[in-house]
Symmetry: C3
Subunit: 473 residues, 3 copies
């Protein structure tokens, strides 16, 4: 069975048709919000706002840019570790993120920023951050499928993934009034189970045929560390980007910084311990060091205390590294889930843990720790939830986690079924993890030629090129 | 004809003499402005400024740092794609940008920040951003010449390029009162035609002699994507960095974000469609995805609406990719313009389009859309231009575009003539695109040795080094 | 003599035990400060703070993230230049920085942020920046030892290094009331002499046995430029991160930007001049271009004037490049100091110069230049130092430099002695600069296999490979 991987019609068609759809929908629905509209200066006077600094842009733009780097360089380069799939890793990540953020602005806009007076979605900087967050779920899912799907499948995965995300997020944040500023549940848990379920549906029993391509090479591993580090460094911005102004953003950054630091130490510890001679495994370092950031997604704006953050990072570093050591091979053999990047260890387990820690921390909150107003602000105990106790909030947090898992599993099964159709141009088992399938590749032999040739440069100059080329072979 | 590429006297001489000139000119002319001077705290009291936050530093510093990354990592790494010119790409980019920003502070300072009371230029954070913008024009021009010129030529190109830029910018922004916050015209159009004209003057009919070096290798392409992504991610900061405080910066970031996202989708579409088997071409992805940012340079702070931004990105992605597909080979063959990085497709065409879109959008502006004050603020209809109508403004915008093109063409012809003199140490045709010419290169064979040697490490230890070395050959 | 480099027990033990110690100490001592605590909203009302923008988070967070990138990507990638030590460079940098920032929060907290009322250290964003600064000292020291020590030794180096740093910093900043916002003395001078002294104690006379691994390869040099550039671009944030709000931060950024630009030009000049054919040496470009930033650490917030900054950058670029050219080989042969990254040229000499320039600039300060209040603010002439003259301040600045050097030398000798114990798993002379010792490495032969194999992709599926190969051509 030779598969047809020619996407010359399908990929351009999907890209162009969907982009046109975006333009039409944006034309009908999307406008600037108060703070990005040219009427802002009049608005300032009406509302007695004394300084442009109060424009939300200045509160959130630095964090937004950090998140943006995480989405495009962080996620993209983290997946470049395979020896011959760096183009696909960073390139398809680029494609689906660029599409996903547009669709997310619409989907999230309808649920969160819809102005019923004029039937428009009003967007500002916070919407851009949320759109980046939303595609993060799909990029996580891509991690499980890396190298085994076509770009057209990834576009479909993103279309449905963003849609599911927006609904799930609406239920968790707006209906259940759950707090999840950094998305342990909404982003990581959902994204990971979505991707793992799709991978389970698309199980390839003969994937060993491309085994020669499943490893890394030295420099591809170094590229992947670029992704790791930009994710690691900017995760405090990720978890604080849409937290409350003032102490909320401040605390979220500190907590995340600490949890991540602790993850690094336990990851190095378990990684060294996992090998006979105590040698470190780069796969662990590239991934499990980030687990603390995932697990702090829900809880980072709470008063979890600095040592609480260290404990969370400590545990997730261990769990995640053990996952890479034991669970990934187990899942592939027993559960028939092929998880290229090990998202189960980096996103699913730490995400679920983050949701649980969030529920416990919320249930344990008190006025003495938060202050009366601080408690109301942090958990948003206003209007519909003005009478909630912290215990009830804890229960709702746990319910939110279940919703995220359910959406991941059910959504993944449905979308997996769609992606199984034999029309999407996915690669044959022996061609997986191979950029050659979807990319015009440079001829790397050329590299050696350049080295060997420049010694006889002088005699090249006066020769016609055809002759030269022949001469040189 | 063997060329002399020894720059041991000329490069150090140019660097040291020019740097000393900078020190003297800075000593005579440049001082801190009100907000970076230690008198600021007294100034605050005089002007009743209540918070340090009102210091322009806090409005612009995050954007400045993003722009700084675009100049040095973005432009630098974008050009590392050639298999043996990564040192020259990122290294010479570093050199000329570091020189250019100093000269730009002086040139732009004389025109824009000159205090006639004490005959000093007063600089603050906005001057640093403008200096970075100014050298961007020269770095764009370098893209056309990559691999074919000596660092001394590049220094000359930058000296004149910055000078021309400052004059052109003064005419467009100060005399014609044209708006161009992100520099579609002032930076991209000027820079591209400046570089293309120089390349045309320096045409090398026998460039095929270095054909073996004109391609990429796998990992050099991955390095180049780093440049692409940092440019792509931070372009919203580029276009908003010197926009008006408040809604101006906010809107510029949103519009640019959207246009760039749309460019990605149409670039992938056309790239896949351009190849027989639908395979993607990394050259397109590395470059044309950025076209939306270039084209939004003028218009990003206007009320172009979100869907308007998507349309601009949609069109420029298509145009730019088609440029790489058809125009670059055509220009080389027919017009004798050798454009290494394809700046015509990435900067010239989208820049011109951006200027035109800017003129149309300005002419179509109205009080109902902008609000009375918003319109005045956005287009700066004050003092000299208080009576301008939007139609007149549109006309001036178009005139500004013509000035940018004219400066690029005429300036490029003049500077090209200077660079044609046989004194600059440029490489022979067969040595183009070759780092060996200007850099001490590591011996890459060493890499393989390291792999093969460590298996016989044990017997190495007890041997004298001379013996070992012999043994290993 | 074959050394035992198995760290399967020691590394995990150190990591886990120390991380648990951190958790306990954080539990006992560390809490949120006023601005990151949920009581902030009540605090705002009490103190009549009108806007969340006044939270220090918004003054410092963008600079913090830039510093964070310098620590993890900047320092990490700068050291990836060796052909086979990229994993160790960036990986161990990651490990010790993640540990060091935790220990630094405690050590610096006890000295600077200790609340005697409730015996707690209160942390906010400024503490995170200072913790990053503190580990920078240890990362500099790592530069001298790169490739010759085990990760366990590095953990020990960091434990003591952070401790020494905190004491030295307390003496210089709090007892002597010396100004050193960017740490020319406190960070660079101390860190460099600390590392150089350790390297001198650990001198390896037979290091030539790993000579084959001491060079770079083409792509490892390109990776290292990533480190260079992120350090270079973000150095203005480093020197301004903890400067005074307002003009202090503003001026520090401008001065550093200028000094760095001047360093680039003189580095290129001397580098080209140092080689017979005028070819540039990538080692110089990667390192000496940064010397201006180091030297501006003390003086960047002073009114040194823009041309003064250029002069500092001009001189340090020259000195640093000459260091790489002459001093490094001299030090290795004559002084028996093996300095892998040349930190003597990048940190020690420019750091000392920065301290001296700081002393002179402080002594030359005047009310006419700073304004009455500006002078008090800049040099913090309040309370204990209210009666200091600028000359006295200059003397104290010079004393601070001596303290930094003394701590580096004495601390380095002590720690070097500890690290000489034969229990830490350091590599044998012939295995230095070799990732193989501490890392599971991918099999790079695989890379070539992948190239040759993908032409015969079909065969894997159902055919024996030989047959397929024929079939597919």
């Amino acid at each position: 069975m030779t598969k047809n991987t020619n996407i010359r019609i399908s990929l351009p068609a999907v890209c162009v048709v969907w982009q046109i759809a975006m333009i039409i929908l944006f034309g009908v629905f999307i406008r600037y919000d108060e703070e990005s509209d040219a009427h802002w200066i009049e608005h300032m006077k009406e509302e007695n706002i004394s300084s442009h600094m109060e424009n939300d842009f200045y509160y959130r733009y630095p964090s937004f840019q950090d998140v943006h780097v995480m989405i495009f360089v962080g996620f993209g380069f983290l997946m470049t570790f395979l020896k011959r799939y760096s183009f696909g890793a960073v390139g398809f990540n680029f494609l689906i993120a660029a599409f996903g953020i547009q669709w997310a602005l619409l989907m999230q806009g309808w649920f969160h920023s819809f102005d019923k007076e004029d039937w428009k979605i009003k967007i500002g900087i916070e919407n851009l951050i949320n759109a980046d967050f939303c595609v993060a779920g799909c990029l996580i899912a891509y991690g499980a499928l890396l190298g085994k799907v076509s770009p057209v499948q990834l576009m479909v995965l993103t279309l449905f993934g963003v849609t599911l995300f927006a609904v799930e997020e609406y239920i968790i944040l707006e209906l259940l009034h759950v707090k999840d500023a950094g998305g342990s549940m909404v982003i990581h848990t959902f994204g990971a189970y979505y991707g793992l379920t799709i991978s389970w549906v698309l199980y390839r029993p003969n994937l060993f045929q491309s085994k020669r391509l499943q490893g890394s090479v030295y420099h591809s591993d170094v590229f992947a560390i670029i992704g790791t580090l930009f994710l690691w460094m900017f995760w405090p911005s990720f978890n604080s980007a849409i937290a409350d102004h003032g102490d909320g953003q401040h605390r979220a950054a500190i907590n995340t910084y600490l949890a991540l630091a602790a993850s690094v130490l336990t990851t190095f510890a378990i990684s060294s311990f996992s090998q006979k001679h105590g040698k470190l495994d780069m796969v662990h370092i590239q991934n499990a060091t980030l687990a603390g950031g995932v697990a702090m997604g829900t809880v980072s704006e709470f008063m979890i205390t600095p040592y609480g953050s260290l404990i969370v990072g400590f545990c997730t570093g261990i769990i995640s590294t053990f996952g890479y050591w034991f669970l990934t091979p187990f899942m592939e053999k027993t559960l028939k889930i092929q998880d290229t990047c090990g998202i189960h260890n980096l996103h699913a387990m730490p995400g679920v843990l983050g949701g649980i820690v969030g529920a416990i921390t919320a249930a344990a909150a008190s006025e003495s720790v938060y202050g009366r107003e601080g408690l109301i602000n942090t958990f948003d105990f206003k209007e519909a939830t003005a009478n909630r106790t912290v215990n009830v909030q804890g229960g709702y947090q746990a319910a939110g986690l279940c919703v995220a898992i359910a959406f991941g599993l059910i959504g993944g099964a449905l979308v997996g079924g769609i992606l199984k159709l034999p029309i999407w141009g996915d690669p044959a088992d022996a061609n997986c993890f191979e950029d050659e399938v979807y990319w015009e590749l440079p001829d790397d032999e050329g590299d050696n030629i350049s080295v060997s040739v420049h010694s006889n440069i002088n005699h090249v100059r006066s020769m016609p090129p055809e002759l030269y080329e022949r001469n040189n072979q």
